[in-house]
């Protein structure tokens, strides 16, 4: 089981309670598709992804970014058993979506950069450590049901 300090719990709850899901979701997924273009393989039916401007303005990317970010709510609300909370989502990503789990880290890194830009100086090294630990646990849980 993952041990969370009081600071880590408070930091995670704080970040997500103040999160603008529309903006951060769209920004993170769009950034991932621009910075790591091979991740576009999962979005063949999203229409125009031909260049950065098209990706940043694509409404399907925006909508899906919001969905993915809200998927993190499960972990925020179940920090003491993220593994169990993500069992079904893990099967989904492996069996149905066929997402290479290495890509979870890429999206996680883009989310970290977007949140860093949003929070500015408030994204201290200690806050960054808590946020990245949280994402690492989520990613590990999402990878668990792969075989």
């Amino acid at each position: 089981m993952v041990e969370w300090t009081e600071f880590e719990r408070t930091t995670i709850q704080d970040i997500f309670s103040k999160m603008n899901y529309d903006v951060v979701g769209q920004q993170s997924l769009a950034r991932c598709l621009v910075v790591y273009p091979w991740t576009q393989r999962y979005f063949g039916n999203f229409g125009n992804l031909y260049n950065a401007a098209a990706i940043m303005g694509n409404p399907m990317v925006a909508a899906h970014g919001r969905v993915v970010l809200h998927g993190l709510d499960k972990a925020v609300k179940n920090m003491d058993n993220i593994k169990a909370a993500y069992a079904e989502l893990s099967v989904l990503h492996s069996e149905k979506l066929h997402v290479d789990p290495d890509n979870f880290r890429l999206l996680g890194d883009c989310l970290t950069v977007v949140v860093a830009a949003q929070l500015g100086a408030a994204f201290t090294p200690e806050v960054q450590a808590a946020f990245q630990k949280f994402l690492a646990v989520v990613i590990s849980s999402l990878q668990r049901q792969y075989h």
């Binding site: 621009v34 910075v35 860093a116």
Partner: protein, 143 residues
């Protein structure tokens, strides 16, 4: 994933905007790395103080960022341009090259924190490619 002419232009333009703050960026990126990835502290066990505000972190951050800024001018031949630095890292410092990715990630986070409007997705991908190419050049002499 080689650097295109556009990548190089984007990196040069962005570096022009940030170069006055290069020292502070180096210090912050190094401080973040030591906090968020504590295993990297093993390379600095000889420092009395490994926290973000320490004199050692400040000085070393400036050194590292100075070398990176230098490399912006060597993008046409990073392997050649970084040859002696690669020798140093391979034979004397012997830093596991996996750590290069860790530091570059923290440089990206530091850029996002300090230049949220300028660090667009397009700048991000070009800078990420540059830092990856730089890391590969730095590891070139390892074996």
């Amino acid at each position: 994933m080689s650097l295109t002419a556009k990548d190089k232009a984007v990196v040069k333009a962005f570096w022009g905007k940030i170069s006055s703050k290069a020292d502070a960026i180096g210090q912050e990126a190094l401080g973040r790395m030591l906090t968020v990835y504590p295993q990297t502290k093993i390379y600095f066990a000889h420092w009395p103080d490994q926290s973000l505000g320490s004199a050692q972190v400040k000085k070393h951050g400036e050194t590292v960022m100075g070398a990176i800024t230098d490399a912006v001018g060597k993008m046409d031949d990073l392997i050649g341009g970084l040859s002696s630095l690669s020798d140093l890292h391979a034979t004397k410092l012997r830093i596991d090259p996996g750590n290069f990715y860790i530091l570059t990630h923290n440089i990206l986070v530091t850029l996002a924190v300090n230049f949220p409007a300028d660090f667009t997705a397009e700048v991000h991908v070009a800078v990420d490619k540059f830092l990856a190419a730089l890391s590969a050049a730095l590891a070139d002499k390892y074996r």
